[in-house]
Symmetry: C2
Subunit: 327 residues, 2 copies
């Protein structure tokens, strides 16, 4: 029997309503799920989905380490324990990112040999397979050896998720030459370019290459990765706002918008973060998906799909093998 | 008599044609300019603009330090010398960025008290004053004390360029809390938040805040700044490409595009890097503008305008005063 995916019912800006709605969509598709949250009926109608009881909630602004230590009966901690104890196949949360990482790390533990888990985020490439960027924010301060492991884990994840052998792995820098970049990047470049890593390393890329689809995996420290990711999100938001303003300005532009928007829709869908299934925490001993705080039901559904896919695809085993390759 | 702005005729992807065309546009507006390049007639018709002779060219892929040392008669080095020797008020180049920095630094020298010059780039804010981000790429590896100076120089530059007292200065990080970020950011936050810096420090911002116009100056190290800038550029490029594809797909969408594009144009202009006048190298003892490699005549014209404006506004003096404030 397939184990369910444990969904943190209390995590996210739209919790628990949209989270439960997403869980129900997944159940309707035949994907086994279990909700983690209060079992006092306050979750409302779960459509028959079982609830793993958890009486506490880690809030978005709670300090992650402290919250995980003190709120032992929180939905986030209980979700991670469900995976550890073999009651769930994977966990999904749209809650406090730091606390999700801490819960997963402290309860599931690390894959043997992994120095630090990293957040792998799919960057949308219009009309093509996403580019996986990691670390997108788990480790603000990194060592070159960790980035080598991020590259190995990112490549294994890319193959498990999107298929294709020997994905192209690149290092995020400020110039293509190996001598460009900060100290961390220069030292990491040497490690990635050395033989025996099991990687198809294609060199450095720059910020403007993130959305072109030219490479499959982009490796960076969690500070730079988070800044890059949020810069892209911010740019997208500005574009959409401007386009909305332009279209809404007169009856003529509204009519023109009615013609263009349906054609634009497939592109918009392919860059919609709700469609990607969320970010994956790679390196913990279990499948853990970190969904965007603003996740709607559809985002949760897609996260559950991705979680089941990665469990069936043996993601954790693939990661274990990838980091076991000498670097 | 107003000194001319020295324009590197040989720098940029479209040099010398577009550079000379830009110089001529500036001269037509009554802005004094001088071209720096070969005086053997190979520049063609300069429209009567004087040419400061320079027989060598630093190429885009030349190693900056080495190029400045060995190509002593290059247009870039001669342009910087013209400022140093009082023959020009400022320099503008769309050539090799690293070599432009090295030429300016080695020939003009630093403003007394400045640890490192930084590249200040205007980030377009649709319908509003740009946000100045620095360092956009001069220093891949930074110390907290340098970032404090970048903040002081950035604020002085913002006021000189766009007016307004006490511009809002923010630190680029991965969360608003002072405890978020990498080691450099946490240490810098303390320096910026301390009294006596002369700054209106408003705290941390994230990548998604870069284009909102909520703050006037964003401080970051040159690695992160360059990645953020190029991520934004990349997103803009993808967006424009998609919009072009959508509009061009059928006669109906083409007609709709004909209605929307004129309304979109003012927004597009406000995010057009050619309109901003280029990036400013702050901290050298003279006004030095680093234009985009792809600069057309219009970009050069706007750079010359900005250069004259900053010379008349006493930018270097303002920077000197800003960094003289104890931090």
């Amino acid at each position: 029997m397939t184990l369910p995916v444990a969904i943190d019912a209390m995590g996210g800006d739209k919790a628990p309503g949209e989270i439960i709605a997403g869980a129900r969509l997944a159940a309707d598709e035949g994907l086994p799920v279990v909700l983690v949250g209060p079992d006092d009926g306050s979750l409302g109608d779960t459509g028959g989905i079982a609830v793993l009881p958890a009486s506490e909630v880690i809030e978005m602004d709670d300090e992650p380490g402290r919250a995980v230590r003190t709120k032992k009966d929180s939905s986030l901690v209980r979700a991670a324990e469900a995976v550890r104890d073999g009651h769930a196949a994977a966990m999904v949360s749209a809650g406090n990112t730091g606390a999700t990482m801490a819960s997963a790390l402290l309860r599931m533990g690390r894959i043997s040999g992994v120095a630090r888990p990293a957040i792998a985020t799919p960057l949308p490439v219009p009309g093509s397979t996403p580019t996986v960027m990691l670390d997108a924010g788990a480790n603000a301060e990194c060592k070159p050896e960790w980035l080598l492991q991020f590259a190995q884990m990112g490549a294994a994840y890319f193959t498990a998720r999107y298929g294709g052998k020997e994905p192209k792995v690149a290092l995020l820098s400020i110039g293509e030459e190996p001598t460009k970049g900060n100290d961390l990047v220069k030292a990491t470049h040497e490690l990635l370019a050395a033989p025996g890593t099991g990687l198809n390393f294609v060199g450095n890329v720059e910020g403007r290459d993130l959305l072109t689809g030219d490479v499959d995996v982009v490796v960076t420290d969690g500070f730079t990765g988070n800044v890059a990711l949020k810069s892209l999100e911010g740019a997208l938001r500005v574009f959409m706002r401007i386009l909305g303003q332009v279209i809404g300005s007169t009856p003529e532009t509204k009519a023109a918008g009615d013609v263009l928007l349906p054609v634009l829709m497939p592109y918009a869908n392919s860059v919609d973060p709700e469609a990607t299934g969320g970010a994956m925490l790679l390196g913990v001993d279990g499948v853990c998906i970190i969904s965007h705080g603003s996740s709607s039901a559809r985002a949760i559904l897609n996260a559950v799909r991705a979680a089941h896919e990665m469990v069936e695809g043996g993601l954790v085993e693939h990661l274990r093998e990838a980091v076991a390759v000498a670097g």
